[in-house]
Each structure stands twice: as structure tokens, then as C-alpha cells.
């Protein structure tokens, strides 16, 4: 991925030299042309076209903001309830993520979203222990975390 970005920069500079115009506009036009050419050549690279990953990062960010807003509304509801009808608990989440930064990112995203909080990570980095405000539907929360955050993170790092 880094290689493709570097190549794209190099192509933008090459375009500037070809045009004999050293402005940021020419650089940007060259970058766009380079992007199109790299897109055409994407099957010759060992990694994916890097714009997929840029898109995945943007998607993950938007997902995070959406979940953040939802989480705070959920907590607001719990706080404003006259009767405390919650049942807190801790459950384990098996994760397929491997590298350190992926797990850190997942843990932070879980902590910042709907009524869940990462308490601990197992020594082999395979299991996350999560405290939930309402444990009633553990399977559901595992599924939703797996389907949203873990998938989105894997989309970024794969």
C-alpha cells in the first residue's frame, strides 16, 4: 500500500516535470492521472488498489461516529429510566484480529460504543473481556461487534 502511494507521488512529480509547471494544481492533476493509471494496472500489484483501503478507513470513521452517537443516546435512556432494569456482566469475545494495532483499535472502538467496555485482553491476544451494561443478549452484542467493527477493521488491514 505504501508503495502504491509513493509511486503515485512519484508520478505526480513526473507529471509536473513533463508539464514544466511546478504548482500545486499541476501536482494534483498529476496525482489524479497517476491514480487512474495505477487503477488500470491494479492487477499487476501484489496488494490491493490502495484507494480501497482509503475508502475502508473513511467507512470505519463514519461507522465510529454513528455508533458513538447511538451509544450516547442508549446510555441517556438508561440514565433517565425511573427503574434500574439493567443487568451488568462480563463476557468474552473471540477475535480474529492479529496485529497489535488492530486489537487496540477494536478495543478502543468497543469502549467508546453502546454500553460496552473492554476490561482486559487475554495474554495470547485472542480474547477480549468486555463489560456490558446489559448482559441480557450477549450473543447479539458479540455478533454486532463482529459484523461491524471487526469486519471494518479487517477491511482496512487486510
Amino acid at each position: 500500500m505504501a508503495f502504491q502511494i509513493l509511486l503515485n507521488f512519484f508520478l505526480a512529480f513526473l507529471w509536473m516535470f513533463l508539464q514544466v509547471s511546478f504548482t500545486s494544481t499541476t501536482f494534483f492533476v498529476g496525482y489524479l492521472i497517476g491514480l487512474i493509471v495505477i487503477y488500470g494496472m491494479r492487477r499487476f500489484f501484489s496488494t490491493r488498489f490502495y484507494m480501497h483501503r482509503v475508502y475502508a478507513v473513511i467507512y470505519l470513521t463514519m461507522l465510529f461516529f454513528k455508533e458513538l452517537i447511538m451509544a450516547n443516546i442508549d446510555v441517556l435512556k438508561v440514565v433517565l429510566q425511573p427503574k434500574l432494569a439493567i443487568k451488568p456482566g462480563i463476557f468474552a469475545l473471540e477475535t480474529e484480529l492479529e496485529s497489535d494495532w488492530e486489537i487496540t483499535l477494536l478495543a478502543n472502538l468497543i469502549t467508546l460504543t453502546p454500553g460496552t467496555l473492554v476490561v482486559d485482553v487475554s495474554d495470547d491476544n485472542k480474547t477480549l473481556y468486555i463489560h456490558a451494561i446489559d448482559i441480557a443478549d450477549v450473543q447479539d452484542s458479540i455478533e454486532s461487534i463482529k459484523n461491524t467493527f471487526e469486519k471494518a477493521i479487517m477491511e482496512v488491514s487486510r
Binding site: 513526473l14 513533463l18 494534483f28 498529476g30 492521472i33 497517476g34 495505477i38 494496472m41 492487477r43 499487476f44
Partner: protein, 140 residues
């Protein structure tokens, strides 16, 4: 015996971009400087031929799943379309028009319908060259 072409393949993968960028530059330079659709198209197909030399026909065909014969048709359609478009404005066949536009990024740019005609030439040249080379290459 098949030798390991890894150096040739890696270098041509990078050089491909330089050639392609230069061919696009030549294509757009055509109006005010030496260049144009023909040389641009030839240089583009030259870049693809370089990949053909480094890899084999199958790999390149998988990399660019383009039917070059269709490309000739599209190019001819571009040329005929821009030429015939003149008839809609009650001017003779092949009359071109241009005007100055303010585009984002590019600033004041003159857009000329001859560029569309040139695109047709560009596509036909790529299509013809690649068809010739691939047809010869495929026959045993």
C-alpha cells in the same frame, strides 16, 4: 528453458507508468506542441508491448481485460460522432468548436471538440497496434 524474469518484470512494471504518463502528456500537448493522438496512442501501446515482453500474453490479457477490437470500434465512433455532431449545428461535417471555460483545478482552459476526435484517433491506434501484435503473437 525458462529464465527468471523477475528483474525485467519489476522494472517494466515501474517504467510502464513513466511511459503511460509521457503518452498522456503527449496526447494533451498535441494542440500547442508536438504530440497528439497518434503518437500518444503508439506510446501507450508501446507500454503495453513492454509488459507483453516482460510477461506473457495471458497475464497481460488478465491484467487489462480489454477487447482491443472493440476499442477500435469505440475510437471510430468517437471520431465519427464528433464529426457528425457538427451537422446538428448546421455547419459542415468535421467543423469543430471551442470555447474557454473555468474548470476547477485547471483554471482557464480552452475545451476543443478536436480533443474528442483525437481521443478517437488515440483509441484506434491503441486498438490496431495491440490487435496486430496480439494476433501475430498468438499464432503458432
Amino acid at each position: 528453458m525458462r529464465t527468471n524474469d523477475v528483474i525485467l518484470q519489476t522494472v517494466s512494471k515501474i517504467v510502464f507508468f513513466i511511459i503511460i504518463l509521457f503518452s498522456i502528456h503527449l496526447f494533451f500537448a498535441g494542440h500547442y506542441n508536438p504530440g497528439g493522438g497518434f503518437i500518444g496512442g503508439l506510446l501507450t501501446s508501446g507500454a503495453i508491448v513492454l509488459l507483453l515482453l516482460a510477461y506473457d500474453i495471458k497475464t497481460v490479457a488478465k491484467g487489462f481485460p480489454i477487447n482491443y477490437i472493440t476499442l477500435i470500434g469505440i475510437g471510430l465512433l468517437f471520431a465519427v460522432g464528433t464529426s457528425a455532431g457538427a451537422l446538428l449545428f448546421n455547419v459542415p461535417f468535421l467543423t469543430h468548436a471551442y470555447d474557454y471555460f473555468y474548470l476547477p483545478l485547471l483554471g482557464k482552459t480552452s475545451l476543443h471538440t478536436a480533443v474528442l476526435f483525437d481521443t478517437g484517433v488515440y483509441l484506434v491506434v491503441i486498438g490496431v497496434t495491440m490487435t496486430i501484435i496480439q494476433t501475430i503473437g498468438e499464432s503458432e
